[in-house]
Every structure is written in structure tokens, then in C-alpha cells.
């Protein structure tokens, strides 16, 4: 028997001798990963939702009445030179009046043609990477310094709330991830320890014959890899199967990309390997 054959034989023997332990481990991990996968989908979906809303945020810079129309082009150039700004649309007094009429349904300024009180403004579209409270506040300060700029408005409070919510979701995700990593390690290590304990005498004999620790531990490392990796993959398989069966009409669920799922399953499998080693480590002294 070659070393590889021995490792595979031992692995098959472990699974055959303790099918209940292996299945129990597989199912408990599957349930755990399934919960995490669902949270992941919820998190990605809500993140997409927020991003879509964020992309609609505009910053409006109102101009002082004293700014001459001839200065508008220069001001527009100064605004566009700011790296946070991707587009600056000028709103003249007439356009503002039209917009107001569109919003309320009637032209409230009939008779005030020569003295339109509505201010001129620039409506700024912001680069997506600067759509956060800190960068928006910096941009606001920079814009305020420009000669001719007056009041600056944007959905500051909504942005703060959106950021808080996203940060909360991220923190819950991290906590859940840490909890799952810990549970995977402890649960797998304990199951493997149970399986390995009956082999302690054999391990001692192998050590006396000059076997290395890795040689003895490898079947268990592989078992941890397989059980954890299979559980993680089975969780996603179930979700992708269910994806075709359930349709949401109000909103669209966003799933992580395929390569992210593969990397996730590999990381979980590697964690399983680690727990496999931890499970037998004490028996190899």
C-alpha cells in the first residue's frame, strides 16, 4: 500500500466505521452554512439596494444672486475640476421655474417674469466612490469656497442613516462569520477527535515505527476538508436549486458571484482541514 493509498483507505474506513458521526457533522455544518449563505444573500441584496439609492443622490449648489451669467461657464469649469464630481448640470432661473411648475402642477410665478425669485444652481452627479458622508462633507466645504456659490443641499441625513445600516449589516456579517468559523472548527475538531480516539493505540505504534505526525494526521485532515467543503457546497447547491423555484416580484435577490462561492467553499474546506488536524493533534504526542 502506498502512502496515498493508505491515507485514502484510512479516510474511507473512518467514514464507514462512523457513518453517524460523519453524517451528523455534515448535517450540522450544512445547517450552519445554509444560515450564513442566506444572510450573505440578504446582505448582498440590501447592499445593492442601497447602492442603487445612493447612485441617485445629487448635490445641488445654489448660486448667489450677484453672480453674473458670464461667470457661469468659469464656475462650471471650477466645479468640474473637482475629482468627486462626475457631472454638473446648470439649472437656470427659467429651468427652475419649469421644474417647480412640473412638481406642483401650476406655474406659481405667473406675473413675476421679470423678477423670478428662484435661484440658479448646479446639480452635481457624484462619482460612486465618493458617495459617503465624509467625502460628501469635504466636497461641500470645497464647493462653499468657490466664489459665487451659496447654499449647498444634499440628502445628508439619509446618507448617514444608509451608512449606519450598511455598517450594521457588515458588522453582523463579520460576527456571524467569526461565529461560524469558530463553530466549524470546534464542531469538526470534536467529531474527528471522537473518531480518532479509538485509534490512539494505533497512532502510538505508528509513531514508534517512525511515522511522521502528518502521515498519521492526514486522513483526518482530509476528512475535515471533505466534510466541511461538502457541507459548504451542499448549502449553496440547495440555495441555487431553490433559486429556480422561488420568484420575488417586488424585488430581485442578488446572489454572490460564482467564483466568490467557490472561494468561500475552499476556505471552509481549509478550515475543516485545520479542525481535522486539531482533532488528532493531542493524540500525536
Amino acid at each position: 500500500m502506498t502512502r496515498i493509498a493508505r491515507v485514502l483507505t484510512e479516510l474511507a474506513r473512518n467514514l464507514r466505521r462512523y457513518p453517524g458521526t460523519a453524517l451528523g457533522s455534515l448535517l450540522s455544518l450544512l445547517l450552519l452554512f445554509l444560515l450564513f449563505d442566506l444572510f450573505w444573500i440578504a446582505s448582498v441584496t440590501s447592499d445593492r439596494f442601497y447602492r442603487d439609492l445612493l447612485s441617485e443622490i445629487r448635490m445641488e449648489v445654489f448660486l448667489d444672486e450677484g453672480v453674473a451669467d458670464s461667470s457661469i461657464t468659469g464656475l462650471s469649469r471650477s466645479i468640474m475640476s473637482l475629482e468627486e464630481v462626475s457631472a454638473a448640470d446648470y439649472v437656470s432661473k427659467e429651468s427652475a421655474r419649469d421644474e417647480l411648475a412640473r412638481l406642483v402642477g401650476i406655474d406659481l410665478l405667473v406675473g413675476y417674469d421679470s423678477a423670478n425669485p428662484l435661484p440658479r444652481s448646479f446639480v452635481l452627479t457624484i462619482e460612486p466612490m465618493y458617495l459617503n458622508t465624509q467625502d460628501m462633507a469635504t466636497l461641500e466645504t470645497e464647493l462653499a469656497r468657490l466664489t459665487g456659490s451659496g447654499e449647498i443641499q444634499y440628502s445628508r441625513h439619509w446618507l448617514e442613516k444608509a451608512e449606519t445600516t450598511r455598517s450594521l449589516i457588515l458588522r453582523i456579517g463579520l460576527a456571524l462569520g467569526a461565529l461560524i468559523i469558530l463553530t466549524t472548527l470546534i464542531s469538526s475538531a470534536n467529531n474527528i477527535r471522537l473518531m480518532a480516539r479509538t485509534k490512539a493505540v494505533g497512532f502510538r505504534q505508528m509513531l514508534l515505527l517512525g511515522a511522521g505526525r502528518l502521515f498519521i494526521a492526514f486522513p483526518f485532515v482530509l476528512e475535515g476538508f471533505l466534510l466541511a467543503g461538502l457541507s459548504a457546497a451542499a448549502g449553496w447547491a440547495l440555495i441555487f436549486y431553490g433559486r429556480g423555484k422561488v420568484v420575488f416580484t417586488q424585488f430581485e435577490l442578488v446572489f454572490p458571484a460564482g467564483d466568490e462561492v467557490v472561494i468561500y467553499c475552499l476556505i471552509i474546506a481549509l478550515l475543516g482541514s485545520l479542525s481535522g488536524y486539531l482533532g488528532v493533534r493531542k493524540l500525536l504526542k
Binding site: M1, T2, R3, A5, R6, R13, T198, K199, V201, G202, Q205, M206, L207, L208, L209, G210, A211, G212, F215
Partner: protein, 221 residues
């Protein structure tokens, strides 16, 4: 050029677990292609000596050298290499209960990474030599004490390990089987391989290429 000795113990001092001094300035040299039979009463330190030779225990002072390499704690890789050249029977050595007889016998070769074909040939030879063909697929739990001992002998010589450490070779053997084992030991002693045999009483029959020692007051005489 002369081959270096397989085993060299120089001024070795070891205490037992209760702190009592078992060996004091123990000196022992086992030249290549020679064997040693070491007798000693119960508690004299025979098992402790075997543990020193396989790196399970370490000397408090003095030097333990096997195959020209000094055994020290924390030299795990070296200890593993040394152990691969030793075949053990009795004492600390036993069988892995979850492996079949065949798997137990071939284990030293699997650990050494021996080719599959060579493993099969040597296994067949050992099973035939120790009349274990019928038990090849059985687990150690279903073997008799005699069979268990024979499997250990087969495992200790399957990889042509240059050194065998045998703790009480007659333990558990009936006179007829012991005679077979003794014949096997004689064959080993003239084959160029070496043995350290630890026994309570001096055997009646002598073996060729073998020196006889006795543990007395923590020293070999």
C-alpha cells in the same frame, strides 16, 4: 573501514518516574552485525533501556547514539529516521488494533514509502514464514497471544530493519512456538542484522554472533 556501532551508550544516567536512579554511568556498545541479550530482574531497567533506544526517554547525562546519530529531545526528525530502522517486539511495541494483520506487517514499509510490489512480496514471505496466511485479513483483537507475538516479529523484520529490539521474546509463547521464534532469531543473528533482546532470565540456548549482558546496580556487566 570498520562500520560504526549500531548502538552506543556512553556514561548514561537515567532516573525512573519516581526519581530513583536506575542507570548510573551505563556503557554499552553494540557493533554492527552482532546482537546482545540483556538479562535483568523485574524493575532492573530493561524496558527503560528499550525506551532509551527508541527515543521515548532521554538520558539525564551521557550519550545515547544509534546508527551514529545522537538521540536528543527535540530532534524529532532524527528520532523518526532512527525508529524506521528499528523493528520492535513486545514492551512498548504492539499492534495497531484498527489495522488488519497484513496492514500491521506492511506498516513499516508504508511509512518508509516502499514500492507496492516489494511490499506485497515481503508481506507474502512474512505471512508464510510465521504461518499467518489465514489471519492476514483479521484484526489484532481476534488473534491469540501467540499470533499477536508472531505478527510483531513479522513486522519487526519485514523491512529488513538493521536493528531489532525485542522485549521478552518468550512472553505469551508456548514452547513449540518459542522454538520456532528462537530458530528465527538465530537466522536473524547470522544474517548480518543486529538484535537487542531483553529478557528476565538467561536463555538456555546460545545464539551465534551474540554477546550476553546482565543489568546489575544500574550498570551492564
Amino acid at each position: 573501514m570498520d562500520k560504526p556501532p549500531l548502538v552506543e551508550l556512553i556514561d548514561v544516567a537515567v532516573r525512573n518516574d519516581r526519581g530513583g536512579m536506575v542507570f548510573r554511568d551505563l556503557n554499552f556498545v553494540l557493533p554492527a552485525e552482532r546482537s546482545a541479550v540483556i538479562t535483568g530482574a523485574a524493575g532492573a531497567g530493561k524496558t527503560l533501556l528499550a525506551e532509551l533506544l527508541i527515543g521515548l526517554r532521554f538520558a539525564e547525562s551521557g550519550t545515547v547514539r544509534l546508527f551514529d546519530r545522537e538521540l536528543r529531545p527535540a530532534k524529532n526528525r532524527l528520532i523518526r529516521r532512527v525508529r524506521r530502522q528499528i523493528g520492535g517486539v513486545g514492551g512498548q511495541f504492539g499492534l495497531a488494533p484498527t489495522l488488519t494483520v497484513s496492514e500491521n506487517i506492511t506498516l513499516p514499509m508504508v511509512i518508509a514509502g516502499e514500492r507496492k510490489k516489494v511490499q506485497r512480496e515481503r508481506l507474502r514471505k512474512m505471512l508464510a514464514e510465521f504461518s499467518l496466511l489465514k489471519q492476514a485479513g483479521e484484526l489484532p483483537g481476534s488473534l491469540t497471544r501467540v499470533e499477536n507475538s508472531l505478527v510483531q516479529f513479522a513486522r519487526a523484520s519485514v523491512a529488513n530493519q538493521p536493528l531489532m529490539i525485542i522485549d521478552e521474546p518468550s512472553a505469551g509463547l508456548d514452547p513449540k512456538t518459542f522454538l520456532r521464534v528462537f530458530e528465527f532469531l538465530v537466522r536473524v543473528s547470522v544474517s548480518g542484522r543486529s538484535m537487542v533482546i531483553l529478557v528476565s532470565e538467561t536463555p538456555g540456548q546460545k545464539m551465534p554472533n551474540t554477546d550476553y549482558y546482565r543489568i546489575s546496580d544500574g550498570a551492564l556487566v
